[in-house]
């Protein structure tokens, strides 16, 4: 489908959606939001892009390899942050009690590992939604194209 209006509007809107998603992830510990919600917003913006253009254009923005690395990297970051607490001599995924910096209350960098976990989850959920959408829509065609 070649619709100029949809494409131009989408090209205008997608950056704002993504900035909003990044905001929701980064400020998840201060205002309502968090990794899951922000990741879903960014992933949805990529779905919107792929819907208004086409699947090939969309999957160029986040290739299959990059999506796999984002997925694994987010989960690994989360797990490794927990192991850092063990190395510091506390239980798995201990936050402030393990000596992570508290920061100043209400600021962007505060709350020890909570923002790091939010970012890791956000990256992972973005990749999840994008990968699931591309694979369910593209099916075998996309896999053959990339292989």
């Amino acid at each position: 489908m070649e619709d100029q209006i949809v494409r131009i509007v989408c090209r205008l809107v997608v950056p704002f959606i993504q900035v909003y998603g990044i905001y929701v992830i980064l400020y998840g510990h201060i205002s309502p939001g968090g990794g899951f919600a922000g990741g879903a917003i960014i992933g949805s913006s990529m779905v919107l892009y792929a819907l208004s253009f086409n699947l090939e254009e969309g999957s160029k923005k986040i290739p299959s390899d990059a999506a796999k690395r984002m997925e694994s990297g987010g989960a690994l970051t989360f797990a490794l942050v927990g192991i850092v607490a063990i190395i510091l001599g506390h239980e798995y995924l201990t936050n402030l009690a393990a000596g992570f910096p508290r920061g100043s209350f209400g600021q962007l960098i505060s709350g020890g590992v909570i923002p790091i976990i939010s970012i890791a989850i956000g990256v992972k959920i973005t990749s999840t939604i994008v990968t699931l959408f591309y694979h369910l829509i593209g099916g075998e065609k996309l896999e053959d194209g990339n292989a």
Partner: protein, 115 residues
Amino acid sequence: MEIDLLNVIMLVLVAVVLITFLPHTHFKTVFTLVLLGIVGYFLLITVAEMPPFGDIANPPNNELAARYIEQGIADTGVPNLVTGILNDYRAMDTLGEATVIFLAIAAAIATIKAH
């Protein structure tokens, strides 16, 4: 009458197994409907035994919620209590959630690639 949810689940499983191995006859239809009626009856009994909505004596209104609200900011250092609980108090649960999503996406890709 003490009806555990586990009992109802077991009843449903037994019914499903019984129905699966029956031949396609009118008896099977009637038998399925009767079993569904029995299961529904027990489920409704369970619903009737649930505590009233908003009661102060309900099991979730325990000292845990009060502790989160009173000590949450001191313990986690963030003003958003939901994120504080998800990423600090219950970080292990969140890691489990992330693992479930990871497994789901891996299974979906494996299934699509296999066909």
